[in-house]
């Protein structure tokens, strides 16, 4: 049996692959011969980078994790201006960070193909916010492809490089999270040789100021007009929309919703009664092919299926007005803007619009309803939680003893955003200390009328991504807050990518080992009060909190340093070291001694380590299969009931 990776990187066409859409995009970039692959890690497209950077990948030495999306975008643009093919991977909120250079890249244009894979997140399943990233194209004018199935994701990503080179524009490939995590079958295409950068040639086109900027803007509008008005004839119609004309209503659907429409019509027995138009390029919509569709039939009813906020609808309405086409449009007044659009909802709305002739009803009731009689159980949502032995759990356990729900706890992105703490806000990268500095200003010294403490959080990865400027500003203005820098050494939430402070580690395949010291950076920024703490040594950590929590001295930074337990365990296991926190006795397993446990539930309900279970008799026990032997529970049990297990002695 061939390994999945061997199959994935076969250079030949026609291999049947089972992959996610995120994986399909990786295959497409490989087939296109991308010379540079860049990312800042972010779900749901982490897998795309991970595959291309995997040990089996021929592109692994060309893959780089970059400090943030803004820097990554510039780097990808530079490579492309020098003539190479660059592939940039980010989530929708990464586009917010990269949006400044994005605008300019449409003015400068590109030379080598530059493709940006964006994982959007309708339903905010793996992100904060579910912004419709496609709307960036209405003002950057960067073309968008939204592949409709797994096979097409391979081809569309590959062809996006060709399109980018043909029109000299970056091209975005947008895949929603449900599809990124979708898994289906696709056929491989032929892998092209890697297209590296032949060299940069100076051009006045790259200066976007004054009259030059106006000229570049004109050139950009010309390109968009070509994309809009020339009927797609490129690469066996790579950009050609799917169009099936059966009269009836015209259903316009982008991305995965094309197949939702097909399946719904099939299940409703209406496949032959209505038409489907589905563009691969959703910006700009191709007016030439739309005109052809509207000439073929005088549609009275147009139904637009897309997630989030009516991107197709906005463009289609513009096209129809321009071309004096009138028809009734059923779009965002029927298909919701907020949250993920699910299949049963799509089918139900189509049924009502096409079969029942009930255009006023837009409530999406399930097609099969189950009786919710006595004994019916509603699901309970499982909150996200820290892993067993996670240093963040120990940190928040201690911190919660020193702050009250009325205090201000500025949350940030990363593992530390998971419960059991509940921060005062959770918005974008670097929101913790930044918003807290505004709150601290509003409160003034002394915490204002409410005497609020202001504390903020930032993970090590976010610290480097966007936190540096905030911390400099906080130090310069002596912002009255304590900022906890949760340094677990990895971008853990998105799959343990290394950060700038990951212990000596070859961060880039072709770069020098580097591990920056957060403490030295803070010192160089002029932070006067810097503390270091180990959350596993919980009593010492509590003593520090006790000392500093009520200080009104201005800005303090606490580096809370303990490596992500999963990473530490993985490395120690492989070196056969004893998996135990420094400073604790070398026990290997812990157990709860029945006779000593007072049933106070501190470990179970307050500390909530998931490795501590309750049996049917209500007795607590440690599940040794998932306990990572961090020993923190032993320190927090007020009754000394958690001990080294007997079997640990004498080893």
């Amino acid at each position: 049996m061939k390994s999945a990776a061997e199959d994935f990187f076969t250079i030949h066409a026609g291999r049947r692959l089972v992959l996610s859409a995120a994986g399909a995009a990786a295959r497409g970039a490989y087939e296109a011969g991308a010379g540079l692959v860049l990312t800042y890690p972010g779900s749901p497209v982490v897998e795309t980078f991970d595959l291309l950077a995997s040990p089996e990948s021929p592109l692994k030495s060309r893959c780089r994790i970059i400090i943030n999306e803004h820097v990554a975008y510039h780097q990808a643009l530079g490579y492309s201006l020098a003539g190479g093919r660059s592939f940039l991977i980010m989530k929708h909120v990464g586009v917010n960070v990269a949006s400044d250079p994005m605008h300019y890249s449409a003015y400068t244009g590109v030379n080598g193909g530059m493709v940006i894979l964006v994982g959007s997140d309708p339903g905010a399943n793996c992100s904060t916010g579910e912004f419709d990233v496609r709307f960036y194209s209405l003002h950057t004018h960067i073309p968008i492809l939204e592949p409709r199935d797994f096979g097409e994701t391979v081809a569309a990503t590959r062809n996006a490089f060709e399109i980018s080179e043909r029109y000299k524009l970056p091209v975005m490939v947008v895949i929603p999270s449900a599809f990124c995590y979708g898994v289906g079958s696709a056929q491989s295409g032929e892998a092209a040789p890697v297209k590296t950068a032949p060299g940069f040639v100076n051009s006045p086109d790259y200066t976007c100021v004054g009259a030059f900027a106006v000229k570049r803007h004109e050139a950009l509008m010309d390109k968009i007009s070509r994309l809009q008005n020339v009927f797609p004839d490129f690469e066996s119609d790579a950009l050609k929309p799917d169009f099936i004309n059966n009269g009836g209503a015209l259903i316009m659907a982008s991305g995965i919703y094309r197949d939702y429409a097909h399946e719904a019509l099939f299940e409703l027995g209406l496949s032959r009664n209505h038409s489907i138009y589905s563009p691969l390029a959703t910006y700009p919509l191709n007016h030439a092919s739309l005109l052809k569709a509207f000439t073929a039939e005088e549609y009275k009813k147009i139904i637009i299926i897309e997630d989030l906020e009516g991107f197709l609808e906005t463009q289609l309405c513009g096209f129809m007005t321009q071309n004096k086409i009138t028809a009734e449009i059923f779009g965002k007044n029927y298909f919701k803007c907020a949250g993920e659009l699910k299949y049963p909802e799509v089918k139900n709305i189509l049924k009502r619009l096409l079969e029942d002739g009930d255009p006023l009803c837009c409530e999406g009731a399930p097609s099969v309803s189950i009786s919710r009689g006595e004994g019916f159980l509603e699901p309970v949502m499982r909150e996200g939680t820290f892993c067993p032995g996670c240093p963040h759990r120990a940190f928040f356990y201690a911190l919660n003893k020193y702050i009250s729900p009325e205090d201000v706890l500025g949350g940030d992105i990363g593992c530390s955003s998971l419960p059991p703490h509940f921060s005062s806000w959770l918005t974008c990268m670097n929101s913790g200390a930044s918003i807290a500095s505004g709150v601290a200003l509003a409160n003034g010294r002394g915490g204002g009328a409410k005497k609020q403490k202001v504390v903020s959080l930032i993970g090590d990865s976010t610290f480097f991504h966007g936190g540096l400027q905030t911390i400099m500003e906080c130090a310069a203005s002596d912002s009255n807050q304590i900022c906890f820098i949760l340094d677990n050494g990895w971008t853990a939430m998105t799959g343990h990518q290394p950060t700038f402070n990951t212990r000596p580690f070859q961060r880039q395949a072709d770069g020098a080992p580097q591990a920056l010291s957060i403490k030295k950076i803070l010192e160089s920024f002029g932070v006067k009060r810097i503390y270091e703490a180990d959350p596993y040594r919980i009593n010492k950590f509590k003593a520090l909190l006790n000392e500093i929590i009520d200080s009104e001295d201005g800005f303090s930074a606490v580096i809370v340093k303990r490596e992500c337990r999963l990473q530490a365990k993985k490395r120690k296991d492989s070196r056969n070291e004893k998996p135990i926190a420094e400073g604790l006795e070398p026990a290997e397993t812990f157990e709860i001694i029945k006779g000593r446990c007072a049933g106070c539930n501190e470990c179970y309900s307050v500390f909530t380590c998931p490795a501590i279970f309750k049996n049917e008799e209500g007795e607590l026990y440690i599940n040794q299969d998932i306990c990572v032997k961090c020993g923190v529970c032993r320190q927090i049990c007020p009754n000394g009931a958690i001990c080294k297990s007997e079997s640990s002695y004498g080893r």
Binding site: M1, R16, V18, S20, S43, N125, C126, D149, F150, A178, F179, Y181, G182, V183, G184, S185, I256, R258, D259, Y260, H262, E263, A264, F266, E267, Y343, P344, K347, P366, S367, V368, I370, S371, G373, G375, F376, L377, E378, P379, V380, M381, R382, E383, G384, T385, F386, C387, P388, C415, L418, P419, M493, N601, S605, V606, P610, F613, K614, D625, I626
Partner: protein, 193 residues
């Protein structure tokens, strides 16, 4: 015959995604194509994880399948943690056969409130009322006894699922998708449970 819809659900760390990758590989070999999606959740561990697997067994290659399917249209459901299947209540109907471990993990949000969670008996009654076909066993216990580790429970359950699918997918179909050790455990689930 026609389109078949499978749900595999459990919590992070149980191996739901690995199990679904084995099944998908076997299905692609046999039927040429699969579709579906995974729910990977926002939790680092112990969060909701699921796989939706869809395939067409009558060779209608031209038919386009959505990655998701309609309410009530689940054919087979595999719950590695019993209460996780409740999240798919709407997808189940009398058409569905569910196989579940008797193992339940209280969510930490329930623990924090020190609240009680559903017991297995209540969950069993619930699914019996919806599907009428609810197969359950202490698969984790069985795995710990026979194979030295509770995580083999997922493979035992896969074996049991194969038995229930009849001719759709047999032991010989899965053999090429997994290694020898895994196959031994799947076979045990097929034959002994």
């Amino acid at each position: 015959m026609g389109v078949k819809n499978i749900i595999i659900t459990g919590i992070g760390g149980q191996g739901v995604l690995y199990l679904s990758s084995l099944l998908r590989r076997a299905l692609v070999e046999k039927y040429g194509a699969v579709t579906g999606y995974d729910v990977r959740g926002g939790a680092q561990r112990l969060g909701h994880v699921a796989s939706i697997i869809r395939f067409e067994d009558s060779g209608d290659a031209a038919r386009r399948l959505a990655i998701d399917f309609d309410d009530g249209a689940c054919d087979f459901a595999l719950a590695l943690e019993a209460s996780e299947l409740l999240k798919f209540n709407a997808k189940l109907s009398s058409r569905s056969l569910a196989i579940s471990d008797e193992f339940i993990i209280n969510p930490t949000n329930i623990r924090r409130r020190d609240g009680t969670y559903y017991g297995f008996e209540a969950i069993k009654r619930h699914f019996m009322a919806i599907t009428g076909k609810f197969v359950h066993a202490n698969f984790r216990g069985e795995a710990a006894k026979k194979f030295n580790g509770p995580l083999s429970a997922n493979l035992i359950m896969l074996g049991r699922l194969l038995k229930e699918t009849g001719a759709l997918l047999g032991l010989e179909d899965i053999e090429t998708a997994c290694n020898e050790e895994e196959f031994k455990i799947i076979k045990y689930g097929f034959e002994a449970i």
